[in-house]
């Protein structure tokens, strides 16, 4: 068994530097790599390009990096819920590339799986397709979209083991699995690092081969963005 275990978030983020491109898992604040983000804030690396479906809220998630003006460019599908983001974008400090959510997922998966590009119907005829190659297959139009290239992918799983195997919980799965193995180095933080052999080989969402470093995360806040309930 090839061990991917590192002792802490500091070791997990070795090699992280200014001007790098990162992928960050999560949808809204659900399933985000809280420990990695906190450490990126501490390291105060700047000029980052972040590929992530959302940009967090003002005081949590990627909002923390925005607050420190660490992000140069965001590649996302939806960036509401964040005043500082809006301010930086409108002032021109922050570059923003908005792309369809399914395209974002598949450009990650293409990088993971060794595909250079994909043809998707999403965005055809819209400004998202401007300057991009389009093509007809069977009477329907598609846009050519390229695989992402990233230096680090930061993902968060529910359980994992030293072999790098990961299991996600509920909708905290989202973009995390498709980002594993889609960057040069994939760093996984887990709520529970279990002994090797405890995870059922049949029920592993991401095999360890897609993960380079794994560590036991600490003190997850798991903030809820829209608490909606009904009364008993």
């Amino acid at each position: 068994m090839i061990s991917k275990k590192v002792n802490n978030v500091q070791d997990a983020l070795k090699g992280v530097n200014n001007d790098m491109t990162f992928m960050l898992g999560g949808f809204g604040l659900c399933g985000i790599p809280e420990n990695a983000i906190a450490e990126l804030v501490k390291k105060n690396v700047k000029g980052l390009t972040c590929i992530s479906n959302n940009a967090g809220v003002d005081d949590f998630g990627l909002g923390l990096l925005l607050h420190g003006k660490q992000i140069k460019k965001m590649v996302s599908s939806y960036v509401g819920e964040n005043d500082e983001f809006e301010r930086q974008m409108l002032s021109g400090e922050l570059d923003v590339e908005l792309i369809p959510q399914g395209t974002l997922a598949e450009r990650c998966r293409a990088a993971q799986a060794g595909f250079p590009a994909i043809y998707t119907p999403a965005g055809y005829g819209t400004e998202v397709a401007e300057g991009k190659e389009t093509r007809e297959f069977d009477g329907k139009m598609y846009v050519l979209e390229h695989a992402f290239k990233a230096d680090f992918a930061f993902v968060k799983a529910w359980k994992g083991d030293a072999a790098g195997n990961l299991v996600f919980k509920g909708t905290a799965r989202n973009f995390n699995p498709v980002m594993c193995g889609a960057a040069k180095i994939t760093v996984a933080e887990v709520e529970e690092l279990v002994p090797v052999g405890e995870l059922d080989p049949n029920q592993i969402h991401i095999p360890g081969i897609f993960v380079q470093r794994i560590f036991q995360g600490q003190a997850y806040e798991k903030r809820i963005e829209q608490r909606t309930v009904r009364q008993k």
Binding site: F27, G28, L29, C30, G31, N53, S76, S77, Y78, V79, G80, E86, M89, L90, L98, P100, Q101, G102, T103, L104, A105, E106, C108, R109, T120, P121, A122, G123, Y124, G125, T126, E127, V128, W158, F168, K169, G170, T171, A172, R173, N174, F175, N176, P177, V178, H205, K222, R223, I224, E225, Q226, R227, T228, V229, R230, Q231, K232
Partner: protein, 217 residues
């Protein structure tokens, strides 16, 4: 004339037994409340869940179980969770039977604009562009006119498009319309709304063929 709940109720009549349905934010979300109880329907949310149930009871919400609107939800027996690539395989692969979403504008040829107003803060398209580019059955839920009274059913959309030639049906506070090769075909009038009212509120080509019945809600 319908209110938002009325629009949701009318759209709910379009949901058929055995449908997998993706609901957008706003009026579409309300549709789930009015689907007939004698049919089986499953709701998909593009962040990675199939088989969504109602909101959780107070105190039982789970930060790891949300919908695409970031709301805490529950799941029903038979539900499943999956990653974002799989979720859009369901959408792009046309496994989802019906997509209901809001719009700022719809054109007579089925173009839709619902993600961007030039000069205003752009929040992004989320999954909307994938949904409209792939779904075979798209119903738009919206008001017939904007706050200034201008028609939202146009010859050509003025706002940046979300998708082209994709909308099949529009349900507004005034009418149910089908998008055809020749324009908006008026199918039903909202209670108390005349054909003349709808004509006035529709900029795009409006096809009126025979008597137009009033909706039965």
């Amino acid at each position: 004339m319908l209110d938002k709940i009325g629009i949701a109720k009318r759209i709910a009549q379009e949901v058929q037994d055995g449908y997998y349905v993706n609901l957008g934010i706003g009026i579409p979300t309300l549709v789930a409340n009015y689907v007939r109880e004698d049919i089986e329907v499953e709701f998909q949310s593009e962040n990675g869940v199939l088989g969504m149930g109602p909101f959780p009871f107070d105190g039982e919400e789970d930060a790891d179980i949300i919908n695409a609107g970031k709301q805490t939800i529950t799941t029903l027996p038979g539900a499943s969770f999956f990653d974002s690539a799989t979720s859009f395989s369901m959408i792009r692969g046309q496994h989802v039977d019906l997509t209901i979403l809001g719009a700022m504008e719809v054109s007579e040829n089925g173009d839709i604009a619902n993600w961007k107003i030039p000069g205003k803060m752009v929040k992004g398209m989320g999954g909307a562009m994938d949904l409209v580019a792939s779904a075979e059955n798209i119903i738009v839920a919206m008001m017939h006119t904007n706050r200034a009274g201008a028609s939202k059913l146009l010859k050509r959309c003025s706002l940046p498009l979300t998708g082209v030639g994709c909308v099949k049906k529009v349900v507004t506070n005034l009418a149910v319309l089908e998008v055809t090769a020749k324009g908006f075909k008026l199918l039903e009038r909202a209670p108390g709304v005349s054909v003349e009212d709808i004509k006035k509120a529709t900029e795009g080509e409006l096809i009126i063929d025979g008597d137009i019945p009033e909706m039965n809600i």
